[in-house]
Symmetry: C2
Subunit: 322 residues, 2 copies
């Protein structure tokens, strides 16, 4: 058995997974990165030890832990190099600490890359050879599967960071320090920030979105519910999300000469609201391909693909080292 | 010996090349695509037959012809599918016709891809494994060398079309029908169109650029000379060229997790005017890499790499079929 862990900007999730892709048990806690790396690391170790006991109860044992972490990381050192959404974790030797505390081999990858591994695993041999993965969560991550394999570029600790490609140089500010990134348009944070910007400009002075924001309780989920009830601002924010995704994915298709993308992550739950604007934008922003040549799919299991992929990482890496 | 041909939006160039990368003879004529594919094809065949006679005079013979053509092409069929800069050639079975007229095997690739093959050939084993090529000519082309090999994506007839990635959704119109493409900022045509737009707006009413444009004789070269003499508008157009290149290359680095680009093509002669704005823009538009991790190089032989690459294509493909 393996443990797959997904460390996102908002939540940490861990799952006990067997070699047949069955999730035997899972846990979810708030990341609370603002409390610092020691806290995060300690709570994550607790989570893993709990799942290791569960494995024991089921007559098995945990061979390795796979860790997906948002941001630029050093897989060899198991260290977070630069994470806009987990900035307190920058420099933290996360995998090393977790190995110390659990006495189990720990392997680390970018969270969107483990999504790619998970999706490949779920689709076994049925998936396309070349595809772009986009994960919508607190931020926006990406992965590239080229020739059926996870693409790592120059091994600089990141690849496929489509979330930090720029879709509009005059667009909103991004946590990474730049302006107009895809992430600043199409993430959970972008939805909340979109409401905040309207309030700051004085364009929104009452109603449920205003109330929730004022109470510090506005979430992407609430913006989604509001859009479903016909709220014009919320609908516009999902439209912007789709527009930016279409432009960024279209740019990636033009650059790579491919025509397949798979979208996952928690915020892909808003699919029904952003997919039409996404398709429209894709047609308007990619002159190299006809509409029928561009296929954007929803993940096989949007909420579990990254967790399964982290477990798959553990399985693959432990296999390599055996 | 092999013939390499580069069919661009403005000129067609052909060179007789031996296996040691020596250009034994070369010819250059205006493309005049507006006269239709038959004319272009006939004149190109004449050019090739001339070089075949030269080969004979030197005691050799031409084994194959390699063709680099701007746009989306079908290498297997030797057909132009869609070319914004050679729109009259769309659908033309160019390679087939040239083979009919010369009785020599003809192979066809995108012109920026043959630049990639040429640059790899020139750098032999010394080049980086992963790099993005950008060719600046009438339009803007691109190629990707991944893992030391020319990347063809899903074999859709194009790849690495960085020229048609969008750098500014509010930017100028592009020949491909979209708005804000890199090509609409950073090509020879963009330089001339930039002057035209100023004249149309009434912002430019006299001076050498105005005179040349009015006489229908304004070229990218003239804009360059004007910038070297301190003309503010011309300098601004080269600054915009560098800005757009920096943003598009930065996006490609973020997406691919690589940090190397090589720039070639005739308009790369303006290197001294656009490289500083390019570096500035790259720093401002790529948050994943530090300035020292991003290296943008000028081609080993900006004017010959594509021609050599077309000859290299002929050599490689003829070798495969032997």
């Amino acid at each position: 058995m393996f443990i797959g862990v997904d460390v996102g900007g908002t939540h940490m999730r861990a799952a006990l997974v067997d070699a047949r892709q069955t999730v035997l048990a899972s846990r979810k806690v708030a990341t609370q990165a603002e409390l610092g790396p020691e806290q995060v690391s300690r709570r994550l170790a607790e989570l893993c030890r709990e799942l290791m006991r569960t494995a024991g109860d089921k007559g098995g044992h945990v061979s390795a832990i796979g860790l997906g972490v948002a941001g630029r990381i050093d897989p060899a050192q198991g260290r977070v190099l630069f994470s806009p959404n987990l900035s307190t974790m920058n420099g933290c030797p996360f995998a090393f600490e977790l190995r110390e505390q659990t006495r189990v081999p720990v392997y680390m990858e970018n969270d969107a890359n483990v999504f790619g591994l998970g999706e490949q695993w779920l689709r076994s041999e049925r998936g396309p050879d070349n595809w772009l993965g986009v994960t919508l969560g607190t931020g926006v991550g990406g992965c590239l599967i080229l020739g059926g394999r996870l693409w790592s570029g120059d091994h600089l600790g990141f690849s496929a960071e489509i979330g930090h490609t720029i879709v509009d140089p005059a667009g909103p500010e991004c946590l990474c320090g730049l302006r107009g990134c895809l992430e600043a348009h199409s993430s959970a944070r972008a939805l909340v920030q979109g409401v905040a910007a309207h309030i700051a400009r004085g364009d929104l002075t009452d109603g449920p979105l205003f109330e929730l924001f004022s109470a510090g309780m506005l979430t992407a989920e609430a913006v989604y519910q509001s859009a479903k009830q016909g709220n014009a601002l919320a609908l516009k924010l999902f439209e912007r999300m789709g527009w930016a995704l279409g432009l960024a994915i279209g740019n990636a298709f033009s650059l790579l000469g491919i025509g397949r993308a798979i979208i996952g992550g928690g915020v892909s739950a808003g699919w029904d609201l952003f997919i039409d604007p996404l398709h429209k934008s894709l047609r308007e922003h990619c002159s190299m391909l006809g509409p029928e040549e561009m296929i954007v799919m929803l993940s096989e299991r949007p909420n579990e693909a990254a967790l399964l992929g982290a477990a798959r990482l553990a399985q693959l890496m432990a296999g390599v080292e055996e």
